[in-house]
Structure formats: C-alpha cells, structure tokens
C-alpha cells in the first residue's frame, strides 16, 4: 500500500518534470524563432527581378496550353464560357471561346504586332487599340491585359518588395507602380505572394490609393514542377455582387507548339 503510494507519488513527481522540460524546449524554440525570425526575413528578401520575371511568366512559362471555364456573374445573370488558350514566350498568345455555341470561335490573338479580336461570323480580325487594353475582355471582369499580358510587370512598372503579414501569416508583397507611359489605368498594384514559393494569393488593383479590383487565387496544384492556383476570382469593389471566375481544367507548360499558330491562318485552323 505504501509502496504503491510511493510509486504513485514518484510518478506524479515525474510528470511535472517532463512537462517542465517540454515547456523549456518550446520556450527555447519560440525564442529562437522570435529572436532570429524578423532579421532573417529581412535579410532574405528575394531578388526583385527574379520575382518580377516569375510573375511575368506565371501561367505561361516558355509556352502554355490551357482549357478553362470562365464564369461571369453580373447582376443580370451568369454566363459560362469554355476557353482554350495558347501562349508562347511573352509576345504570342491566343484565346478561343469554345462554348456556348453563339460565341464559339470568337477569339483574341496577340502577337508582337498587336492585339486583335477574331469575329467568327465576319471571319475577320479587328484590331484592339492599346487604349482598350484595360477594358473588359469579352464582357468579363478580366481585362484584355489580364489575360493577354500586353504589359510586363518588369518593364512597365516601378516595383519594390516588402514583407506583409495578414491574419498572422507572412506574405511577400510586390508593390507595383505603373511607369508614366505604361498603358495601365491603375495607380498601383499590390500583389500578395506566399513567401517561399511565390504562389499568388491576392492581388489588389488600386486607384488613387483605394482598392478598386481584387483578384484572389486558390486551388493550388503542381503543374510542370511549379505550384499554381487553378482557381482565380476577380471582383470589382464597387459591385460586390459581380465577379468573374476562371477555373483551369487543364494547364500544360513548356510544350512544343505549332509555329504558325499565332497567325491569322493558325487562328482560323484552331477556331474551326
């Protein structure tokens, strides 16, 4: 009986001892994180140009082919489009509407020489003046520039990097200010990326210091060795009931594309 009580007593004694050591270990760990974390992060701000190149290449790499569903939600109804897109380098891009039938074959082509919409009924291209770069792409909340990337984050913007924290999570923030001659309507862009892999999380488009448009990213998957969100939502701040979503059904990067694809003839071949 005594023995038992003693044993029990010892046991009781040992538990606080274990707890205490765990606690000290945790404290130590916290101290290490707190002590070194801040300065460590500041020291390791990544190279700006590398980040900008990463952003410019996002979703397109050296070449890309994607199928996506676009859902446009407006106060008057919802419209769903199936899109197929190709891109090569930073100059060539092609997006074709596959569904619904009334709009099937409508396409947008971008080459070094400019930007065109393809009117399937007329079977003609119509040039989109650079003044319409920030205008809605085919009635969605995405702009021509969002989808066809005429401007370059590296060339058309003054950029800087900083650390940002939101809801206790650390993010890398890219602050972009358009250069005076850039065909951009926003006064600033704030891109929130994950700190290590630079996966887009939330991009804010500002006008006179106020967020007028917000793009959010989720559904991260690994494509050709890089992690990319497969689901994008664009929301204008002044119309909270409206939004446009893009869901990537498939995305292939760094593939071999037909040389003549980004020409009038190539476009005609794929829209049919």
């Amino acid at each position: 009986m005594r023995d038992w009580r003693w044993k029990r007593f010892r046991k009781v004694e040992r538990i606080p001892q274990f707890t205490r050591s765990c606690f000290s270990a945790a404290l130590l760990a916290v101290a290490v994180v707190l002590g070194s974390g801040g300065p460590l992060r500041a020291q390791t701000l990544p190279d700006l140009d590398t980040v900008l190149d990463h952003l410019d290449d996002l979703y397109r790499s050296t070449s890309s082919h994607a199928v996506m569903t676009m859902t446009v939600v407006r106060d008057r109804g919802t419209r769903e489009l199936t899109l197929e897109s190709w891109s090569r380098g930073t100059d060539d891009a092609l997006i074709v509407i596959r569904q619904p039938a009334r709009e099937a074959g409508t396409a947008t082509l971008r080459t070094e020489d400019g930007l065109w919409n393809y009117a399937p009924r007329a079977d003609r291209l119509i040039r989109i003046p650079s003044g319409l770069l920030s205008e809605s792409w085919m009635g969605s909340h995405f702009t021509n520039d969002d989808l066809l990337r005429e401007t370059s984050y590296r060339e058309d913007y003054e950029a800087s990097l900083e650390w940002a924290e939101e809801d206790g999570t650390a993010y890398l923030m890219v602050v972009l200010t358009p250069r005076p001659d850039a065909p951009v309507v926003y006064t600033g862009l704030h891109f929130l990326l994950t700190p290590d892999d630079w996966i887009p999380v939330r991009w804010d488009y500002l006008d006179q210091g106020e967020v007028v448009r917000r793009m959010t990213f989720d559904g991260v998957e690994t494509v050709a060795g890089r992690e990319l969100p497969m689901h994008l939502v664009v929301q204008p701040t002044d119309a909270p009931d409206e939004r446009t979503e893009i869901l990537y059904e498939s995305l292939a990067l760094d593939i071999v594309l037909d040389d003549g694809l980004f020409t009038r003839q190539g476009l005609r071949r794929v829209v049919r």
């Binding site: 919409n117 007329a122 291209l125 040039r127 085919m138 009635g139």
Partner: protein, 445 residues
C-alpha cells in the same frame, strides 16, 4: 389740321437736312434692329435644327432606365402599329425607331469605338435629315441584299477618315450584346455622311435595324423612338401629346394581341413596357446644354438690342436738342407774340412724333425688306470665313444662313423707336417751351 401740327410739319420742312438726318437715324436704327432680330432668330433656329434635326429629333421615347443610363439591355418592343399611331398625331411629322449600340468598329489595321445606330432607312430619312447628309455613295437601301452578303453601313466622314476606309470597304463590328454575349458581323460601307453635326460625323455609323437587332441579340426590341415635330419650339407640348397617345396605344395593343392571333411574340411585347415605363422627352430636356446656350444667347442679345436702342436714342436726342437750341430766338419771338408755352411744347412734340413715325415706317420697310430677302435667299456665310464654313457648339454652319422673320420682330423695333423718338423730343421741347422771351430775343441767355 390744328396749328401745332401745321407748324410742326412746316418746321420740319424748313430745315430738310436736319429733319432728314433725324429721320434717317430713326430709320437706320429700326432697320438694323429688325434685321438683327431676324438674323439672330434664324441663327438660333439653325443651331436647334443642326443639333436636333440630324440625330436627336425634337422628341424622344426611351425606357426610364435607358433615359437614366443607356445600356444595351434597356430596350423595349415596338411594332409598326405603334409608330403609325404616333405619326397620326397632328404634332408629329415622323417617328423613327432605333437600336443604339456602342462597339468596336474597324478592321485588321485599325479600329475605333463608335456609335452604331440601327435604323429603318425609310422612317429615319423621314424623321431626320441624316439621309440628306450623304456626301459619297448612298443611304441605306430599302431592301438590302440577303445573307450571306455583307450588311450595309453608312459611316460619318470623321470615322471613315480615322479608319481610313471608303465606299465599298469592309468593316467589322464587335460588341457586347444585350444578353452579355458577343455579337459580331461584317459590314460593307455604302455611304459616307457629312451632316454638319460633329457628333454624328465623328463617331456614328448607321446600319439596318434588323442587322443591329441580330448583332445585339435584341429580337424586335429597340432603345429609342425619335420624333420630328413641325416646330422645334413646340417640342415640350408635342412630348405631352405623344406621352398621352403612347399610353393609349400601349394599353390597347395587348388587348388586340389577346383577341387576335395571340402568338408568343406578341404576348411578350406588352410585358417589358409594363415593367419599365417609357418616358417621352423634348429636346430641351435631352440636350439641356443646348437649351441653356440658347436662353443665354437670347438674354445676351437683349443686352445688345438695348445698346442699339440707346445709341439711336442718343442720336435722336442730340439732333432734337440741337434743333431746339438753334431756334431759341424764334421760340422767344413766338412766346413774345403770345403763343402759349403749352402750344409751343405741342408743336415740338408733333415734330418728334412725325419724325418717329416716318422713321419707324421707313426703317421697318427697309429692315423688313432686307430680312425678307435673307429669309428667302439666305445670307452667304463665306462673307464671314474664308474656309466656307465654321463649327459652333458641334454644329457646322456652312453655305447659307437663313434669317427668320416674324411680325413681332418687325413691329417691336418700330414701336420702341417711335417711343424713343418721342421721349427724346420731350426734353428739348420742354426746355424750349420755358424760354424767357425778352432775354432770349436779346440773345442774353
């Protein structure tokens, strides 16, 4: 004829030069005023006409939401019965339905955001002067070639220049339709417009209403009915009449649809109207800027008229006073021999009155004649500019400007100048009638 009248007329006849000058002054002022008023009225008319006759019309019908903020989906159904019903109103000369679209128009080389008006060629030409503005080619055909021929388009001169296109060239149109989808079509330029209305010439294109409804996914629906009234000034009254008639036409047409064939299409037609009421507005409401400019112009011209009257009055006052001063001694003698000052005053007033009446009539005839000539034959504007025309408030003025004469514009200056002549004769007459005979005759004043 009594003494003052006889003496007054005799006095006028005695110094013909002086009388002729005074009379000429009155006549010139009246003539100038009559002509100025006629010219300004003609000018303002031309501005209203230039701004409304080409595109706006004098009265327009829209859905309330469209009038608030034009959107491609804010349309309403229309049929020939409604349009014919409106045209039966005495205030309405013609009514034209329109599909109004905004979209990208161009080709592979260049493009431009333009306003695309889908119109019924016959009704549009009756309700507006746009078809008269064809500078090259022709207006939209009454029955265009069937598909797959390219659809006809008439473009403004400025738009054609920017797109570097001419007659026979292709044009692609690309726009967002009423259901949010994308409409596109191939057009062929059949005509180039130079209407003198810069809003139309720079950015408008006209296509067949059916083609426009197809591109914009607006089956049988339109955005606007533009109405031509006989008198631009009477537009607000005409708008009221149209509004009343519209209510009647819209309430009777669903009944007809119910008792008649009652197809799905006709049943559908009454509905959106009930949901979104139509508003009828005169051009004064649609173009408040123009209306304001017009009233400011009228007010500023009133100031100009006052100045003309003032200058003329000074001239007449001067001559009347000179003539009274000149005849001081004579007046002294008349008073000395027993002429009552009251009668002397009356003599001088008769002089002023005769000069005023004769001058006014002469001026009225002269000014009225010139104005009438300019009303009929117009005034060649190349007098003012070596470029053959000029633009003001988005309206191009070229060729001839036609004055507008009215009875009021003729009678008013005559009456005013008559009054001015009498009033400016009053003071010298009053001074003269109070002469002291002895010192005046002796020349010791």
């Amino acid at each position: 004829m009594n003494l003052p009248v006889r003496l007054g007329i005799r006095n006028l006849a005695r110094n013909r030069w002086r009388s002729a000058l005074t009379l000429g002054g009155v006549a010139a002022a009246v003539a100038l005023m009559v002509w100025t008023v006629a010219f300004v009225d003609g000018w303002l008319d031309l501005m209203v006409r230039g701004a409304t006759a080409v595109e706006t019309g004098q009265v327009q019908i829209h859905t309330r939401a469209y009038a608030d903020q034009p959107r491609v989906y804010r349309s309403f159904p229309v049929d020939d019965a409604l349009l014919d019903g409106l045209e039966r109103l005495p205030e309405v000369e013609a009514a034209t339905p329109r599909v109004k679209l905004a979209g990208l128009v161009g080709n592979e080389r260049t493009s431009q955001v333009a306003r695309l008006n889908g119109v019924d060629p016959r009704r549009e030409a009756a309700a507006t002067v746009v078809a008269e503005g064809i500078a090259e080619g022709r207006w939209l055909g009454a029955d265009p070639a069937p598909l797959p021929a390219p659809r006809e388009v008439v473009v403004g001169r400025g738009l054609a220049r920017q797109l570097r296109i001419g007659i026979g060239d292709e044009l692609v149109v690309f726009l967002e339709a009423a259901d949010g989808s994308l409409g596109n079509d191939l057009l062929e330029v059949v005509g180039i417009l130079e209407t003198g209305n810069s809003a139309v010439d720079r950015s408008a294109a006209y296509i067949h209403i059916g083609d426009a409804q197809w591109i914009a996914a607006l089956d049988g629906e339109i955005h606007e009915i533009a109405i031509r009234t006989a008198d631009p000034e009477g537009a607000p009254a005409a708008a009221q009449a149209v509004s009343g008639a519209l209510r009647q036409l819209l309430t009777t047409s669903p009944d007809e649809a119910g008792s008649g064939s009652g197809t799905a299409a006709t049943e559908n037609q009454g509905q959106p109207v009930g949901q979104d009421p139509l508003v009828v507005r005169p051009w004064q409401e649609i173009l408040p800027g123009l209306n304001q400019i017009l009233s400011i112009s009228r007010e500023s011209y009133v100031i100009m008229y006052l100045m003309v009257y003032l200058v003329a009055a000074m001239g007449i006052l001067n001559t009347q006073r000179m003539s009274a001063q000149e005849r001081r001694r004579e007046f002294g003698v008349l008073v000395a021999v027993g002429l009552a000052p009251r009668r002397l005053l009356r003599i001088l007033l008769v002089e002023a009155l005769v000069v005023g009446v004769l001058g006014s009539v002469l001026g009225g005839v002269l000014g009225g004649g010139i104005s009438w000539w300019h009303t009929v034959a117009g005034l060649d504007l190349s007098v003012f500019t070596d470029q053959g025309g000029f633009s003001y408030m988005g309206v191009v003025f070229e060729g001839r400007i036609f004055a507008r004469m009215s009875v009021a514009a003729l009678v008013e200056p005559m009456a005013v100048m008559l009054l001015v002549a009498v009033v400016s004769g009053l003071w010298p007459a009053w001074v003269a009638s109070r002469v002291e005979p002895a010192p005046t005759i002796a020349g010791r004043t």
